[in-house]
Amino acid sequence: MKSFLGKKNQESNNGVRIAPRSRAAKLGKNIWDNRFFYLIMIPAIILLLIFAYEPMYGVILAFKRYSFKLGITGSPWVGFKNFNELFEQEEFWNAFRNTFVINLLKLVVSFPLTIILAVQINAIRSKVYKTFVQTCVYLPHFVSWVVVAGLIFSLFDESSGPIYNFLLSLGIKTNVFGDGNQFVALLVLSDLWKEVGWGTIIYLAALSNISTEYYEAADVDGANIVQQFFHITLPELLPTMSIVLLLRVGSLIGGGFDQIYNLYNSQVYDKGDVIDTYLYRIGIGDGNFALGTAAGLFESLANLVLLIGAGVVIGRIKKKVE
């Protein structure tokens, strides 16, 4: 759109006056000439309308009482009744709080460690060894949480689990599937194990763009490795860090379904139940569609607000730095 307007301005600068009618005709011709590019987008657009935008219309169910016969459109309006019901449930607030706490803990633990791991990998000189390390650390990202849950059950098995037995030999009797706090620790650490390697990729890309001349100059000035890290590496990584942080903060409320559903049980609901698992239980499990839709809408909106908020904050910080 912008480019089209730009073109038009250029032409009027050249002194060619374009009548409104011919401008519209030109736009029409431009669209017709580019019809190929519109046509090839049509399949994706139609499917998005059906599978992404239609459910967005479906959120009106959050303000209705669902009737199977009448469908979403025909179901009677009930105003904010579903939300009132939702907000009265202690289980919902529990899940809401847990979602936030678990995501925040994951962020606090994995954010710095991912950067450290990236810097460490970047420091390897041998290309073969570097590839080997990268191959190993990226691997867990590509297996599903179903498989990872299987691995975790085997590692913490009370008869044969190597981690369980190791901690037991140190005098620590773990109960990761029965104790809420231990369960949260398990969530944070298994998420770290699975995603820390994958998270380094974006930093490795940024690190490879840092001019080595900075380090050479620092060497000449006698700066040690720690000084170089804080005065060269970290400032250079700042833009990447802020993007990653923005995205992570924007998804603080929500997610984690695959991981938690495959690992949790009713004993750890108090600390481990999150919005997505709660929503699944009431919506699909109990078949309470209206309440489930309300919970989902609340989650989506909360996330949107967080994302926009984080964007504004980071934009301000960037301006200040500049």
Partner: protein, 308 residues
């Protein structure tokens, strides 16, 4: 690619320039050692479960340490999950998975590529609107329940197509591919036009062959995602004959441990070697395509990360 080559040259120069102090050498050795430990942490769970899948349950329980080795190698776990009349019927599920993965990959790759090429066209009237139309779905969605109702209305419940048709795009993949096409040399396309190629011809016989790397990357990403997808099956498919492997493995693990534990006592319904065999069978295909993935994905992810 060029940028990477340049950094490599620079790095090579630095090696000779940098003073090799003893402290640096020790530091580097410590770094390498730590990274070796990290790498082993990533591999260990897979290795131990691989070995245990060939052990008898008694053998597994008797060896509770970090290092395990089968006293006698046996494949009973694998045999029982591949039996056609068993409840697991992993062989059948494997075939379903292969079909769904192949079909979805071709389907999704086609739709994503077409949309990305359309979006990458310069000076396209209304381009910003279409871009926003795609991006918006990343930030807001109707949620699980309206989606569930939609799928039911469309009559897709309990049909194999529910695993394929709704998986037509992933917007992050679209962005990676769009930014690749954005950087596609326009002279090549102009030259084709001068030679009288239609837009379609240019796209099929010039642009696509030059985009093999990015197409392969995205295809592999799609395939891995589809292979791992168990949730769609749990939501929409009841017929045991239509279950892909990812969901069957989920059921096997779910039935054996974790759920319904009482006072920390693990309830075990399915033998360990059976569970572990199922996990290995579902993981092996990923490990097999992994070298190809790794060859390409860094490039793909980097292209995506530049555009944000």
């Amino acid at each position: 690619m060029e940028a990477m080559a340049r950094t490599n040259v620079k790095r090579g120069k630095t090696t000779s320039l940098r003073r090799t102090r003893l402290g640096r050498k020790v530091g580097r050795a410590i770094n390498s050692g730590l990274l070796f430990l990290v790498a082993m942490t990533m591999l260990y769970p897979f290795i131990q479960i691989f070995l245990k899948s060939f052990m008898t349950d008694t053998d597994i329980i008797n060896q509770g340490g970090f290092f395990v080795w089968p006293n006698t190698w046996q494949i009973e776990g694998y045999k029982s999950i591949f039996e056609a009349d068993s409840v697991y019927n992993v062989g059948h599920a494997f075939l379903i998975s292969v079909f769904v993965t192949a079909a979805t990959t071709i389907y999704q790759l086609t739709i994503t590529t077409l949309a990305a090429y359309g979006l990458s066209k310069r000076f396209l009237p209304g381009k910003k609107f279409f871009y926003a139309f795609f991006i918006f779905t990343m930030y807001f969605g109707g949620g699980l329940i309206p989606y569930f109702i939609l799928i039911r209305q469309l009559g897709l419940l309990n049909q194999i197509w529910v695993l394929i048709i709704p998986q037509f795009i992933s917007v992050p993949n679209l962005l990676v591919m769009k930014s690749f096409f954005d950087n596609f040399p326009s002279e090549v396309i102009e030259a084709a036009k001068v030679d009288g190629c239609s837009n379609w011809r240019t796209f099929i016989s010039i642009v696509l062959p030059l985009s093999k790397a990015v197409l392969a990357t995205i295809a592999l990403f799609i395939a891995v995602g589809v292979w791992n997808n168990w949730f769609t099956t749990m939501l929409f498919i009841q017929d045991p004959d239509l279950r892909p492997l990812a969901y069957v493995v989920q059921v096997i693990i779910d039935m054996s441990v974790g759920r319904n534990t009482q006072d920390g006592q693990t309830v075990q319904l399915i033998g360990k070697s059976i569970q572990y065999a199922a996990i290995i069978v579902s993981t092996v295909p990923i490990v097999l395509v992994y070298p190809f993935l790794q060859k390409y994905f860094e490039k793909g992810v980097m292209i995506g990360s530049i555009k944000g």
